[in-house]
């Protein structure tokens, strides 16, 4: 059990490339911290630095009150689950889990107790003598978890552990990982590029972009109050609709607000309603329906704003300029080509500065 504290952590590669540009994160004892961001944002590098697999070129990493910058991975009291599981292919499941304990010189009876206990928790008892290649993807994943559990480390590190599984199994394993972490109450750091995984697992969510932390906090708080347009469009699916407030059509509706001039307006797809009325202080937009996606419980309406507008800062998952997604419950949707009006109420509007780096209060 331990806190993990990162203080102004930096990583510069010998070639001069700065992968991590000063990160401060504080993960409390027993908390589940998720690092999320697009590929190349440095989240895996940061995790590997905590594990000791990458050197730290600046700042401090503190695990349980001990600065671990110069300490070997094996002595940091951590356990890691890799994306491709990294099981030893020639060892049985039992030996895969026991290997690390043997290297520490633990007594064989103690090893057996721990492995049996982990196998029981993970329902691997009947497979202990098998080789990894005789297991399915989900089972291998559980062995990798088992290898981490038997060490009883202070911190679990997960490097995209679910991305090699199929969609259904991924959801099942996600729930299992969360339950297991609650039960063992071990501080965990989890890296993923899947914002849904991040939202569902995290106690603390760290959104990263370009080697920097964009926002840290409770996942729902981040969802409700994204600090930048990057976070706004990365967290939540489909992404938040972002549009410039410069066109007269929007500016006039936002009169009196801080972002009325040269700002960016964001509205989540689920916050729109199709209506002819304009709520007081809210925003209404006329749209031409271009496409409809029915997924059963809800329907996504893709509409085009009549007035072409200038491009808003490019971020992953962003919509083409002028396109708006509206999410409505049920399967009742307007016909393609229909002209509709959508509106959102005042407290559902997100306002950002023109460069998208700062959230403004409405």
């Amino acid at each position: 059990m331990a806190n993990v504290t990162l203080r102004n952590v930096r990583k510069t590669y010998p070639g001069g490339f700065e992968a991590i540009k000063g990160v401060d994160v504080d993960v409390g004892d027993g908390q589940f911290c998720v690092l999320v961001g697009p590929s190349g944002c440095g989240k895996s590098t940061l995790l590997r630095m905590v594990a000791g697999l990458e050197t730290v070129t600046g700042g401090e990493i503190d695990i349980g009150g001990r600065i671990v910058n110069g300490i070997e991975p094996a002595d940091r009291d951590i356990a890691m689950v890799f994306q491709n599981y990294a099981l030893y292919p020639h060892m049985s499941v039992y030996n895969n889990m026991a290997y690390g304990l043997r290297n520490r010189g633990m007594a064989e009876t103690e090893i057996r107790t721990r492995v049996d206990e982990a196998a029981r928790i993970l329902e691997l008892t009947s497979m202990l003598e098998r080789k990894p290649r005789q297991l399915s993807g989900g089972q291998r994943q559980r062995v990798a978890m088992g290898r981490a559990i038997v060490r009883q480390p202070k911190v679990f590190l997960f490097d995209e552990p679910l991305s090699n599984l199929d969609a259904k199994l991924r959801i099942a394993m996600r729930v299992e990982i969360r339950k297991l972490q609650r039960r063992l109450n071990t501080t965990s750091i989890y890296v993923t590029h899947d914002q849904l995984e991040a939202m569902t697992l995290a106690d603390i969510l760290v959104v990263m972009n370009g080697g920097q932390v964009e926002q840290v906090g409770n996942p729902l708080a981040i969802y409700e109050r994204p600090a930048t347009t990057f976070v706004a469009s990365f967290i939540g699916a489909p992404p938040m609709n972002l549009m410039s407030t410069r066109p007269e059509e929007i500016r006039s509706q936002l009169a009196g607000s801080a972002a009325a001039d040269a700002g960016i307006l964001g509205i989540r797809p689920e916050d729109f309603v199709i209506t002819d009325q304009t709520p007081a202080g809210g925003v209404a937009l006329p749209l031409t329906v271009e496409a409809i996606e029915r997924v059963g419980a809800e329907t996504f309406v893709y509409g085009c704003r009549e007035q072409e507008e200038q491009h808003v800062a490019a971020t992953p998952g962003e919509l083409p300029p002028g396109e708006i997604i509206v999410r409505i419950p049920g399967t009742d949707a307007p016909a393609i080509g229909a002209k509709i009006r959508v509106a959102a109420v005042r407290n559902k509007l997100h306002l950002f500065s023109g460069d998208g780096r700062k959230r403004l209060e409405a």
Partner: protein, 282 residues
Amino acid sequence: MVEEEGFRRYVAHIILWIGIAIVAFPVYIAIIASTQENALIANGQMSLLPGGHFLQTYYQTIFVGTSGSTREPVGNMMLNSLVMALMIAVGKIAISIISAYAIVYFRFPFRMPIFWLIFITLMLPVEVRIYPTYKIVADLHMLDSYAGLALPLIASATATLLFRQFFMTVPDELLEASRIDGAGPLRFFWDTLLPLSRTNMAALFVILFILGWNQYLWPLLITTRDDMQTIQIGIRKMITTTDALTEWPIVMATAVLAMLPPVFVVIVMQKLFVRGLVETEK
């Protein structure tokens, strides 16, 4: 694989059988000749059916040798060849797996130049560097010794390259998992890399054993004592006799005996050998 039907399948099989016959017939002749009397062979009246001298000929070949001046029992020659082939195969695997490990997993100064130095030896087989190599072996007083026979052939890059290629396909995460599990470089090598290389080592062993067993030029140069002769040299010496008739049954028996160890190695290690060449799942 395409499953052929009816007539075409028979044609394919007939062609295969013809091929087998062409390859196997000389071997058959050698076996038959080794059971016949020398006089019959020398007269050109050899039958294609086995003769009655099997036990006698092989006993003489293995334990006594030819009756000519260079009599040396073939049993001893086989022992020499075996020791040389095993030393080459085992020595080369041992040295090259270690050097490949160093080159792939460690960052040390002049790593790439060293790799290229090893690589360049590919262009310098024993035949090319034969004079300097002979000089070195002679200066080290290793003429007429097993070390002299094997060492110069151990030093070459093929196996190092093969292991390097294999190590580069081993996922980095395995090394990282080992580090987290508290295994140092030696532990990782011994507990993870060696077991994973098992099939590659077996495939290499088969190739190197046969390579070593079939060496001709180098043993011819550095062995002068009869009791250090290898079997390949022995056969050659038996055929050219100046003062007597070539003893063909014994020559043929020696040839058959010379074939056996490689055949044995291939049969025993066939499964591992094939897996070593085709296996992709790590």
